[in-house]
């Protein structure tokens, strides 16, 4: 029931506010004797870290993660692993405006309605800063998957659309993704995206994005019908990321445009192995992984913190206008890539361990 806990067997609980002293998480359900140190986590956190290009927030945080428990001599012990990142960039700021005013598109109003109190400093608990700990937990999930799959599982995310410009899927190149600040797998689209984002920022506006996560090297059998299906759990995991408004797997919403024969992947045998002739399913049939690549997409709405003045209300129910100054990502979708990868990694690690429980 804990609403800050993710996962069943492999699971983690995050805590901390944007401008509190620290953020952290407790990761539990980790098999023992898995090699683990901070560098295994730091490399993923660094990909999400703010301030790396002009396309992300200029907030400066070194985001150094520390392991406080659960390992001994470089190995996991089966005990919970506690992780912490100190918040560094907590300038004494003037929060007077957002203190009493609800920023449109943000969680200010709903947190106030739900809790009757709100840590308004940088969005408090509702800030995307929380996702740094998801990435850290994802680093542990990847270590577990490496161990279970003998390093066969690869999880890679990329931006596939910004605003109305999609990548050309025929140009997808995994090697390209981490060579550019926008996590694009298609080199040809990068300059167009850069223009889009620059324009949005200059106008005091922002822009949305679609992210695709692919996981390869999976065995068939992950997922537990009928209410813990692999795709349901992935949908929940990705929808829980800040600003996400939709999730689709395989052909997703486009499958509505397909005929029955084209939306059911045919099967053949090649070199004594089962192969599918297409992957409209996105690697999941009946809620269970088929062994094909998992292909899942989610969309991130344009950043709600924008310079343009917007109509809103305040706590006294007065009508006011607000414009959000300060350091914000013009396209939050970009930094959602490592977060999406992490949520997929955590979901897969959890389901793999669950599968082991029941498979005789």
């Amino acid at each position: 029931m804990s609403s800050n806990k993710f996962g069943k067997i492999f699971n983690f609980t995050t805590w901390g506010e944007s401008h509190g002293e620290a953020i952290g998480c407790v990761v539990d359900g980790i098999p023992s004797k898995i090699p683990l140190d901070e560098s295994d986590l730091q490399k993923w956190i660094d990909k999400r870290k703010p301030g790396q290009s002009r396309f992300t927030t200029q907030r400066k945080e070194s985001d150094k993660v520390k392991i406080l428990s659960g390992t001994f001599k470089g190995l996991t012990t089966g005990a919970p692993v506690s992780l912490i990142i100190k918040n560094e960039d907590q300038k004494p700021k003037d929060y007077d405006e957002i203190k009493n005013t609800f920023r449109p598109g943000h969680a200010d109003y709903t947190y106030e309605m739900k809790y009757g109190i709100r840590d308004y400093r940088g969005g408090g608990r509702s800030s995307a800063r929380e996702t740094a700990m998801r990435v850290a937990a994802g680093g542990i999930a990847r270590k577990i998957l490496d161990n279970l799959s003998n390093n066969q599982i690869k999880i890679i995310g990329a931006v596939v659309q910004i605003g109305d410009i999609s990548i050309d899927y025929s140009k997808w190149d995994n090697n390209q993704i981490h060579k550019n600040n926008l996590f694009s797998p298609d080199k040809s689209v990068i300059s167009h995206w850069e223009n889009k984002i620059d324009n949005a920022r200059k106008e005091g506006s922002s822009i949305g994005a679609i992210i695709e996560i692919r996981a390869s090297g999976l065995s068939p059998g992950l997922g537990e019908p009928v209410y813990e299906k692999l795709d349901s759990d992935l949908a929940k995991a990705l929808m829980s990321i800040n600003a996400v408004k939709g999730v689709e797997i395989g052909e997703g919403f486009k499958s509505v445009l397909l005929s029955g024969e084209n939306s059911a992947d045919e099967m053949r045998i090649k070199e004594n192995k089962v192969v599918f002739l297409s992957n409209t399913s996105g690697g999941v049939l009946g809620g269970i992984s088929s062994g094909q690549d998992i292909i899942i997409r989610f969309c991130v709405k344009p950043t709600s913190s924008i310079l343009k003045s917007r109509k809103t209300i305040n706590k006294n129910l007065e009508e006011v206008e607000i414009s959000t100054k300060g350091r914000h990502d013009p396209c939050v979708g970009i930094r959602a890539v490592p977060v999406g990868e992490a949520m997929v990694a955590c979901t897969l690690a959890d389901h793999w361990l669950r599968m082991r429980a029941l498979k005789l």
Copy 2:
């Protein structure tokens, strides 16, 4: 952890196979003293019942639900409510073909891989027949919501797209929805859809659909950040329905095409009440209901059981062809409407009860 259980406080566990003796569910976490009898559930089940038009399967089932426990003198007692529906249409059939052969697009292959055994009669546990019990549980969820909200909450679903034909949203009419067999809120589109479906059936093919569920009359405050957000739980709930490949809330994937200012709903005061000037969020901000209508969509891929011959393999890893005879919905999306409504109702009832626990 139970993979056949849905919900936390309000929750239900379903059981049963397509061609077993019966299907059923146990609904728990029901407040006591709520009036409840079978007619409260039957009315929703009847909407999902097969054999009602040429657009759905011709399987004949009266689908009469029976309450076996948990009520006394017409009121709930706080004890679990056990529901059962007898399976009637269990003809001794020749299952030889699907017994050993994996139907493309179905769960046959993945169930075989996961469990090493498969009740192949009508798809067994993976059949959409299971969803009848979701609709029954949804009937109880609606009674709870009626009680909690003083009958303010309305949950209504409709088909908004079949194949490539979408409704005209400006013609949305709630009263129209239950006057046609296709659950269309737009009268003008019905004949076009009928043609689409008829053509698909004649070709031995099938067709997909998009369903939209709307919930009105909610208070702000439902949903539990950061991993039990209302929209995450709705996404999981809807993605768990058979053949669903995507879920989106509010503007969903279209929000990527919006500017920052147009994707953050502005707020004003009208007659001393908070109003939003748009609803691109779909009624959820930061994972918590805002009081606006919940608007959520999911897509259902074309039925995988089609007459057209398709390439596949069998248990002996031989390459074969299969075509599925028998009674199948040419567009399973239609009967997914009451199921989607039920899953939304159950999610809302669960979250409302959870909200009550913590709200002082």
Copy 3:
């Protein structure tokens, strides 16, 4: 959260009232391909069945269990197994007295306070009749344990004390237990217990008992510190049985009388195997099974339904007297033996499956 569900991976949910149409349970988290039919469950249910001797209630129920789902051709499929037992002995009775009056020692008053409504027929949901389904679920748990342990695990329960007469532990004989109606492992004590019980019944009173459950053949490693320890979960499982007021493991409360050196079991090697020189721990150290026999005891208070007149109140808060007529066990502890065995079996099966998830 479901309060009628027991277990995490292996789990079951019971439903039904004492005088409703039926009682049942849904058992989930069962590995596939385990041979299972009704006779595997019936043999345990028969041990708990009422009406077998003058020492238990004279209610006549054939208690025939039926499997409604989850098996195919005699094997489990991984889908939930639904079990049902029809209630037969539902005489139209005059419940006027207990309808409004709270029987001392029973749950009448607390159910009324909690739920504001009460199925008073035979105690409704609070009746020990519910435990028949625990025994059924325990039958499935035993099948799982047989499979996992290669038939090494044996779980056997016995009555070790009735009133103030304890068995002589030196005379413990497993073969004796099922040769007498009182589940005594010590032949010499039986006639004394019979006298005790007969006297209690004649006086219109009742008598309590202590039950001991032993599980042998376990491997080390079951149990999950620090809040899902094996002994904590066993304590919860046994304390949830009707009328139980205490649980202790190993030397239990007597360990307070031991010295430090006598309450820590020494270890040696015999024939290359680890052996303990005593078993004061009852087979659990630090919440994890040690490989020694699990030895756990629970006490059952005297039956609260007695003929003797007792002071109580009714719903109108009037002071009244009540004496409970009808068919009641003078010593409910006796029929608690198969229930205790079942709860231990279910706890061990659940923990064994959980151990498999995380053990690399």
Copy 4:
């Protein structure tokens, strides 16, 4: 499923090892706007703190708790509260002996068998040092209960037996308990206990204790039949404390010696209020609180770390002898008093919040 998490709605997850850098916990499911600062927790932690008398370990820890998240301007916000205590007394020690040798009565052997690796420094995760965080979480639970009950609920624990010397219950005086280092409610027994403990220590041995926890001021209605009963959850909570071997409620095991009429508490009306004429039930009927005081006891076995030499084995399966030097409580039962109180407080807070969810 998280094995280091306690509770359902109100819940906490602990982490940390005896000789790691810190221990901590994340407390979630806290209603918002409850006043909370570190002093609310420190006062309870100080009661458990080591080194306060010659009857507890001489380890010196200031045990200062720090709140890292979840409060704002002195009030809870509904976000998780992260707590941390630095470990100070981590002397570089020679752990060579216990590194490879299994101390009898400890969790060394079972942790090694389960995890294949063991942080042997001071017992690592299995050390009772973890219970400091339970006491901290209990401090938050008490704040919630104060708020919910308008300061009516009082939870108080005491030692009632050490070795074979029990208190005289007729001399119970709540005011006495915190005036002596042994948490005795009966002044007359203190010097006898002191002698007992001193003797045990001088002999290089140790001694066990029984603790009783009483909770008053409760309403009827807490607890959720049939598997989340209040007494089952209390039993699990207390059994999860290190070295506990038994739990009993009300008359507990002594109820076996009572007649049916004496073990069912009669009811009367006094000044228009329901009163019970006795409390053999310990405040719980049918798993639900009756409004009477909760009275529950648990026993703590003698400390396993003793100077006397004991037979054991090492990791190489060689037979060896071990005697545990260093700073150990001769009677760990004493410091279990605040831990038991905390576990009862947490269980009651959780159940009270759960009750609110379903009570219309």
